[in-house]
Each structure stands twice: as C-alpha cells, then as structure tokens.
Symmetry: C2
Subunit: 409 residues, 2 copies
C-alpha cells in the first residue's frame, strides 16, 4: 500500500489516566496483524457519540445508539476487517457475543460496552473469533498494553497511515488531556467507506455535556469533510471521559474550564477529520473550501459541500486547473440562494472573479502557483448575508479510480 | 477525440414541415467547423421549454425563461464554443445582439427568438460574430439548408458523436413527426457540462399543452440521467410545434391523438437522454438503475439518483465488480425511508441480496457475466410502498479523470 503523499507523522500521545488499551489478533481476515482493539475505561467513565446518518446502519451502530442514553462506558471493542453490516440476525448475534464477552471479562452491564466494526460487508462477524479476541485482549491489558499508535494501526483497514491527535487544556485548575484516534477513509472494494473515531480524556465531564460538546465539534470537523460524498453504514465517533484528572465535573458551559475543554475537543476532532481527508483515496491535494455571505450558516455549508463534492471541481484541482467556472457551476447547483452577478471567487490569496465576472486583467500565474502546492484553498463570497462555513475535501485522481475500479472483489 | 464505445449511429430523420435549418461559421473559437445553428420556424409555431435548476444560469437561460410565457417562436439560434455564462452585462448584451439580428432577418418580435449557447464560460460571447453568423445562416436557409445531422454536429462541443432521435404518431388522422437533437455531456475543461436539446414537430399543439407534455417527458428522461451529478448553468431543452401537419390543435389530453403525441414526445426525449449518457465522459457502460417499493415515486427517484451518483457504485461497475455492499451504502445515504432487513438487490436478472442479506448459495458467475457487458442494470426493491423510478447513468473510469483533470485550461 502506497502511503498517501499527504500523510502526517503520528504525534507523541501522553497517557490518559483511566484508559488502558490492548490489541489482539482475532483473525477476522487472513492477515498477519492485530485486528481487535480493546479499551478498558475506569468505572464511572462518561460516554457520548455520533453515528452515521445512513438509513441502513450496521448492527454495531444500532447497539451504540441503544447504549449511549445510559451515558456510561467501561469497555470499547473495535473490530477491523469485517464491518458486520448487512448481515441480518447473524450480525446482531455477533454484536451480542462481543458484548457478553466484555461483560464477563469486566463485570459490567451490557450497555457499558461499546462496539464498532469496519471492513467487508455482508459477511457476519465471527462470534467465536470475537469472543476469543476480547478475552485475549483483556488478558494483555496489564502485561502487554498497547500504545495509541498500536490502537490506531489496529482499527485501520485500508488506511495508509496511522492517525492520531492530542490536545490539552486547564480545566478547574487541572491539566486535562484529550487523545483521539481515527480510521478512514480508504474504501477498497469490497470494504466500506467507514470512518471510526475514538476520543479519550481524563477530564470529568457529565455525559450530557460531553454529548453536546461532541455534537458541536462534529458539525465543523467530521461532518465538514468529504472524500466522495459517499456515506458509510458504520460511521461512528465515540468520546470517553474518565474523570481521573480530578476537576469538578463539567455539566454546562457555566462550569470552570468548560470552554477550554470544548475548544480542546474541537481541536482534536478537527485534527482527526483533516487526517481522514489526507488519507482520502487517491488524494494528492488537501482542499479547504470557505463559503461566506450565504443567507445563513446552513446554506453556506450546503454550498460548500456542493463545491467540495463536485467531481468537476475535484478533477480540476487534481489537474492544477484554475477552473473557476466549475466553482460557479457548483454554487449554482447547490440550490441555495445565490446571485450570479454578485459572486466573488478566490483561489488561495488571488481574487479570480468578482461581481459575477472575471477580474479585469486577471493573471493566472499566482493561481497556478497556488494550485501546484499540496494544500489548496477555494473561497466563495455570495454577498447575500452573514452565513459562513468551511469544509475540507481532496482532489479526485486516477488513484481513486484505480483503488475503486481496478480491483475485482 | 475518441468516439464513445457506447455511441449510436445517427438515425434517418424525415423533414419536419415548417422547420428550416442552416448552420454557419461564426468563429467563436479558433476551429474549422460550423458553430452557429439557426432554425427558422413557421409563423404561429408553439414553443415550450425546460431550463437548468442552477441558481447561476446563463443570460441565454434568463432570456428563454422570459420569452417562453408568450408561447410562440419564429427563430432558434444556438451558439457553440462559448456558453456566455458568468459574463455580467456584456453577456446580456450579446444575447440582445443575437435577438436583434434575428428580429431584423425574420421580421418577428424579440420574444419569438430563442437563444442557447454552450462552451467556455466567463468570456462574453462576441456580439459582432453572433450578428454576422445569424445573417450568414439566414441567407443559407433556402440555398444551403442543413440536415438534422449537420445541426446536431454544429451544436456539439466535446460530444464524441452526433445525437438525434425521431418518432412519429397518428394524431387526429394525420401522421405527425417529432425530431430531436441534443448535445452533451462532454465537459472538457474549461467548458461546462451543458446539455442542450431541441425538439421539432409538425403537429399542431397549443403552447400550454406542449409545455405540460414536455415537462412530463423531461421528468423521466432528461431529469432521470446523471453523469457526475454536476449541473450546468446553461441546460436547456426547447420544443417547437409548427402545426404544419394540419391536425386539430391539441389543447388537452381530451383532444384526439393527445396521448399518442405525448407518448411520441416521451419516446424522443428518452432516446435523446440515453444518448447523452452514452457520451458521458469516459463512459464504458450504460447503467440502468430501477428502484421500486419506495414510499412514493419521489422517494424512489432520490434513492435511484443516490445510487446512480455514487462514485463507489460507478467505479465498482467500471471494474465489473458485483459490489452490492456499495448499493446498500447508496440506499442508506439517500435519506429516504429504507429498512435494511427487507432490502432486495439484483444485478441484471440475478437476485444478489434478499431481505437484507446475501442470498443463500450466492453464485457470482452470472452477475460477473452481466457486468462484463456494456449495458448493466441494478434493481433495488425497498419493499415499503408503491414508489418506483428509473434513472440512467454511466460508469466512472480513468477516462473521466483524464478528460477532466489531465487537461490544463
């Protein structure tokens, strides 16, 4: 597997008190690597989560949704190599096997066990392999613990590099740590385009506040990236807060350090989301799309995603082509209010079109230089209102076709 | 330019009484070909039209929208090589130049002149070239008339073959003819993904009925195809009915032959729409997506387009990969009601997944054989209601990337 040209090194990640990691070889596929990741979370750990908007979610997603309202977690199990999606009753039974193995090993309630799986779909996860893998990983927690990079590697499938992010903040006089790992969005057939993200913090945070902060952070991070507009049946982001840092529990934005915690969580989510785009299939350029002047923020995001998902825009960027006409097209097709004769478009720092026409004396040279780099920005001002949004995507290249078409499952 | 492997020969097209065609070399680009098409329509010709849903339409689209309510046409002018989109006041002035040249040549009112342009955007159409081209074409109507294939070639830009369709019907005891030509959807940078379609009939049809029939036909033809989900600023389909056939004018479905006329119009529109998909950039396979069992027809079309626009589905078909998991994914992301555990999916005549899981003893051989052909069908039954829809698309291949990225404008 060729490492993405946009890859980033895995950061130094401090430990998070209250979290223990282990990986095991469940053998879900015929491969020579760890493919089951287990996180043991201290009793009383808060949990929050966001899951795919797919109408055909995996049974793992169904399970997490049913467990989240209780707000507490003791165990996370992540399976790689088999998403267990679209597997009917057998798939549901496999999830229950994972849960009961964890309940046995950690003496917790079923709803304190969270499960995520990624990989081939349509094949039920082996309950026997999962049970043995959970038991094996549990036995390693003390004797053979895993680092975050081990876990980041073990949750990956077609990822070309391990993805992690960390941040810290002072909350109620205590330094708290937030670590995150993510996998995605390599989508080699017959695997699915699954993004899984797991965030661990030693801060004391009430489940409701953790959910609110995660939902807010997701809107401008995981939900602001797109590789090819396709949505997995398994996408899941879970956040765990162990409270080991000893701060007074954050229950609302009025609590000391709540803003700092939320900002650090946002930081980790944004870092992780950008790493997913950097591993987008065939990606050679990271594209930031900013839209302002829309009727409201929602409209701005619709327009920004229309640009970011346009195959014509993405292939133009791949070709280093300053094709602002395709940006106009993508604005027009978004369906939100736009006035052709007021539109401003910039590539990088260069205004290309103003008030709906190319700028007088337009010089393409600085634009071409910007597009030759591996980070490209597109800025659109609709000049209608105060709405703004930022989304990220990558270019669409022969690499994407090779990965997704030149492969026979 | 390599001709699409899915190309079809241009059909034999009978004349349509009341329609005269001519082409001219306006020289909008530095090319050695006719790039202006003129159709003279007999006095009293009815007109109807549908235009792009883009919020940033070209001034030609604005003009046609303003002229359509009058319901009468004497002249159609089509410019190729310059779409005149996103050109501000200069672009509007160019449209007015075309209109006034036609008014002068044919002694009609401005709103009886219809204009469409396709090609590079952001560069105002040359009013001088347009005026000279209209005059030249008008002078050729009698001495050097054009055939439908000449017109189909002259309206094309990056099309790899000329596209036309014809049908006839008995209306009120008279044989009427409907001819159509279309261009699209080659979208080589810096051109736009414009689809232009023009339909000519000698039937006598009132403008309101023509509009209703065209709108209905468009819903299941031009609006049921997708190459890459991108929408042009210039898309326009116009239908002209000269009344030369002598039938009693069709004003409603209660009139003799109204059903036959509408069916023939639907036939021509569907033929033309399929030709556009067959010339989709990089297309090697024509894909028919049928969805049934949705809550209603609208929901079925949303799901069908989600499948047809999915890059992962389209690349799987390109690779001959029976990847039904990607179809599940596309159903799930569509946002319409779906029950994962009831879904049936077929490729060609083979049921692949039933009730949300792969069929017992699934044999991929017949599916692989079907996918090896150049016409592929995907059938999804949601088993929730009576809604159904059919859409067409093409596969996503290296050819698409080469055309749209490996080119520097």
């Amino acid at each position: 597997m060729t490492i993405s040209p946009l890859a980033q090194p895995f950061p130094a990640m401090p430990p998070v008190a209250g979290v223990r990691l282990a990986v095991a070889r469940a053998g879900y596929k015929a491969w020579d690597r760890a493919d089951l990741t287990l996180a043991e979370l201290a009793p009383g750990t808060s949990v929050a989560g966001v899951t795919t908007r797919s109408k055909c979610p995996s049974p793992e997603v169904d399970w997490c949704r049913s467990a989240l309202p209780q707000g507490r977690a003791r165990v996370l199990v992540v399976n790689a190599g088999n998403s267990n999606a679209f597997t009917g009753k057998a798939g549901e039974a496999a999830v229950q096997a994972v849960v009961s193995a964890a309940v046995t090993a950690f003496d917790c309630t079923p709803h304190q066990v969270f499960v995520a799986s990624t990989g081939v779909i349509g094949v039920p996860l082996s309950a026997a392999k999962a049970r043995a893998g959970v038991a094996d990983a549990a036995s390693r927690l003390a004797s053979d613990p895993a680092d975050y990079i081990d876990a980041a590697n073990a949750i990956g499938t077609t990822d070309t590099f391990a993805k992690g992010a960390t941040a810290s903040a002072i909350v109620d006089g205590k330094r708290i740590v937030i670590n995150g790992i993510v996998k995605g969005s390599g989508m080699i057939a017959p695997d699915m385009a699954t993004m899984l993200g797991f965030i661990f913090t030693d801060a004391a945070v009430a489940p409701d506040f953790l959910q609110m902060a995660l939902t807010q952070a997701t809107a401008t991070s995981f939900n602001a990236i797109t590789v090819d507009s396709d949505t997995s049946t398994s996408d899941t982001v879970l956040a765990f807060a162990t409270s080991a840092a000893g701060n007074a529990e954050i229950t609302s934005y009025a609590c000391p350090g709540a803003d700092a915690f939320a900002a650090a969580l946002q930081d980790v989510c944004t870092q992780l989301a950008l790493l997913v785009v950097r591993d987008g299939e065939g990606a050679t350029k990271l594209i930031t799309v900013d839209v302002e002047g829309a009727e409201d923020d929602r409209a701005a995001k619709v327009v920004a995603l229309s640009i970011a998902n346009s195959p014509l825009v993405k292939t133009a960027i791949a070709g280093g082509d300053a094709n602002w006409g395709r940006v106009v097209m993508a604005v027009g097709k978004a369906g939100e209010a736009a006035d052709r004769d007021r539109l401003d478009i910039s590539f990088g720092a260069t205004l290309v079109a103003q008030d709906g026409a190319v700028v007088p004396g337009y010089d393409e040279a600085p634009v071409a230089a910007h597009l030759a780099g591996d980070e490209v920005s597109i800025h659109v001002d609709l000049k209608l209102g105060d709405g703004r949004a930022r989304v990220w995507t990558c270019d669409l290249t022969h690499g994407y076709i090779s990965i997704n078409a030149d492969y026979r499952s």
